[in-house]
């Protein structure tokens, strides 16, 4: 307690120095908190989306199942590679036992225009009627595409409609997809979740029928994903195996597809985020180490400056332990205070950034504890050496200083 009071006193005396030294820790802890908070927020968003799908969704995607983290899974050219999933697979799946509804996802790339303005970064998804039901999409106005609607019709994601037309009351208006005019017949409600199981932002997409999509692709269906809803959650594993076997037969026993169920659906996105978060956390931790070095530096200066004081204290009965704790507590106060300010500002910046994008940063006790413990360990790690140096000083030598 005594040492704490002393440490605070000497920190107060050098306000500017204390502030600048602490700033190093604040920045370090803030960046760690920011990265972890945003990263975990993104992961939670993905997790929630999968959970929101009632856990009886199965996704079939082309390509071999990946084990662990594989960066090539995020190869941007991969979408351009011909998918191994065909319309025949879609039919097989639709007719399989236990399957309630099925929808393909055929993602097209191409220009979308409203009058003469280009609408950028809008995924065009060719799918079927059941897609809305499987993905729990709600209609804001109009209807989703169905078998009865004519080819040149389109359904917009709400955000996309608002961004383009300034309103979601756009039924009957027209947009040009790859040069051909389509009439808007419906607008979806915002899902509020920008990242989805297929990595597509549904709020920002436009939806056309599979036939329409095929017409843009020389009549061939390029199915990137097949999503389906089961009749019964309990038969999840059995259905997964059944579907796997059925498609395997279609593909002449070539395993060029993956049937994903449950939490596996978001695994790809999950592991990508996890590694991004990990890498950025390491970078942020480096900032904290730099802050720690700053603390050590200033502490060493302080020990040299106060050599005489150390001598006096020792002459008056301070043990090495007393001196050590006085200086160590000084470093700890700076680190803990820096840690707390860093946590608060880290979370604040995370919310500030997140207000621009559509997911919530995570505020968990794990992140808070991690940030706090890191600050504390930096304090101990970088405060111990200067404190030990102070404690080891010879009282006679110290008293002779400046005499």
């Amino acid at each position: 307690m005594q040492q704490y009071r002393l440490a605070r006193q000497s920190l107060r005396l050098n306000r500017m120095r204390t502030f600048l030294t602490t700033l190093g820790v604040v920045i370090g802890v803030a960046s760690i908190t920011l990265v972890l908070s945003l990263g975990q927020g993104a992961q939670q968003t993905i997790g929630r989306q999968v959970q929101a799908l009632d856990n009886n969704i199965i996704v079939i995607k082309p390509g071999q199942p990946t084990t662990g983290f594989d960066l090539s899974a995020y190869n941007p050219y991969k979408t351009a590679v011909t998918s191994s999933l065909t319309e025949q697979d879609l039919n097989t799946v639709t007719l399989s036992e236990g399957v309630a509804s099925t929808a393909p996802i055929m993602q097209l790339t191409g220009t979308v225009k409203h009058q003469d303005t280009d609408i950028r970064d809008t995924p065009i998804i060719a799918t079927s009627t059941d897609f809305a039901a499987i993905m729990n999409l709600k209609i804001a106005t109009g209807q989703f595409i169905d078998g009865h609607t004519a080819r040149e019709t389109v359904v917009l994601g709400q955000q996309m409609a608002i961004d383009t037309f300034g309103s979601d009351q756009v039924l009957g208006q027209q947009i040009a997809i790859k040069g051909s005019l389509h009439t808007i017949i419906g607008v979806l409600k915002n899902t509020g979740s920008p990242l989805n199981i297929s990595g597509i932002n549904l709020d920002h997409s436009i939806f056309i029928s599979l036939d329409d999509g095929k017409s843009f692709n020389q009549g061939i269906a390029q199915i990137q994903r097949i999503v389906l809803r089961l009749k019964d959650t309990s038969s999840m594993n059995a259905s997964q195996k059944l579907l796997d076997a059925a498609i395997l037969a279609n593909h002449q026993n070539e395993r060029d597809f993956t049937v994903l169920a449950g939490s596996d659906i978001s695994k790809d996105n999950d592991s990508l985020f996890r590694s991004i978060v990990l890498i950025t956390t390491v970078v942020a931790a480096v900032t904290l180490v730099v802050g720690g070095v700053g603390i050590m530096n200033i502490m060493l200066v302080g020990v040299t400056e106060r050599t005489r004081e150390i001598g006096i204290r020792k002459a008056l009965g301070a043990t090495n332990h007393h001196i050590l704790s006085q200086f160590l507590i000084e470093a700890l106060i700076m680190c803990v205070a820096g840690g707390i300010v860093g946590l608060v500002s880290g979370y604040s910046i995370a919310y500030l950034i997140a207000s621009g994008i559509a997911f919530q940063p995570a505020v968990t006790w794990q992140i808070t504890l991690a940030g706090f413990l890191m600050a504390l360990s930096v304090g101990i790690l970088f405060g111990l050496y200067p404190a030990a140096k102070a404690a080891r000083k010879d009282p006679i030598e110290s008293l002779r200083q400046y005499q």
Binding site: Q9, R308, I312, K314, L316, G317, A318, N320, I396
Partner: protein, 261 residues
């Protein structure tokens, strides 16, 4: 036997040095600061240690204050050998049995007067309030109570040294070690400080003071003159020798004087 002890307890010396040496440096560059010193200081003495620069008086004071340890020999404080004590125990003894008064006052500039006085207590158990109250009480006896919350740089040299003496007294030490307590003061302040020390001595405190100034020895009850790490002259030893000579039979007296010469 026991009865006799009760009525006439053996007076243990506060400080007992036996063949104490301090040697600095290594091998061929050694400097002998203290050379096989024997010294006993009893409770209530006011000892002035005199001597030219480099005679080892400051080294002696540092060893007495357990800031330094001797190279050879024994140091007993309150009948306890100090040589076997750990650094922690020495620090504890310093905070409880020894009061330091320095030439340059050695107050901590960023702490106010009362905090400076309470400093030796801060390394002991107890409530801060009680410690400050005790410090305040000691300051009162030095008529510095109204200066309690001043900072050291707001006080004169004489006042600072009085604060330093108050600090040395706050833990009720067995001995007060003063290293040139008036070295940085003008003659008027010096006199004041010396009068304070004499008062403290009269209250039964043991004081060991190192000084250059021969005038100050008039305040002391015993004067030790040092030279080249040895005691060249000790006022009390001479007195004692005279006492001994009276009691001893003539034969031993002759032997002793022969040995001395």
């Amino acid at each position: 036997m026991a009865k006799k002890n009760k009525t006439d307890p053996p007076v243990l010396p506060v400080i007992e040095l036996e063949q104490l040496s301090k040697i600095y440096g290594h091998e061929d560059t050694t400097v002998i600061a203290l050379d096989k010193l024997d010294l006993k200081i009893e409770k209530g003495e006011f000892v002035a240690i005199m001597g030219p620069s480099g005679c080892g008086k400051t080294t002696l004071l540092n060893i007495l204050g357990m800031l330094d340890s001797p190279s050879e020999g024994e140091y007993g404080l309150d009948g306890r050998p100090v040589g076997d004590l750990s650094a922690r125990e020495k620090a504890h003894l310093r905070s409880s049995r020894i009061g330091f008064v320095f030439q340059s006052f050695n107050l901590i500039p960023r702490m106010n007067i009362i905090e400076n006085v309470a400093l030796p207590l801060s390394y002991k158990r107890g409530f801060r309030y009680n410690k400050l109250r005790k410090a305040s009480k000691v300051l009162k006896t030095f008529e510095l109570q109204e200066r309690e919350y001043y900072m050291p740089n707001q006080l004169s040299g004489g006042q600072l040294q009085r604060v330093a003496i108050a600090r040395a007294l706050v833990n009720d030490p067995s001995i007060i070690l003063a290293d040139e307590p008036t070295g940085n003061l003008d003659s008027k302040s010096s006199e004041l400080i010396m009068n304070e020390l004499r008062d403290i001595h009269r209250h039964g405190n043991t004081i060991i003071m190192v000084t250059h100034n021969p005038e100050l020895t008039s305040y002391a009850s015993r004067v030790i003159q040092m030279k080249d790490g040895r005691i060249a002259r000790d006022s009390s030893r001479q007195k004692k020798k005279v006492d001994r000579r009276r009691k001893r039979p003539l034969s031993s007296y002759i032997k002793t004087t022969e040995g001395d010469s």
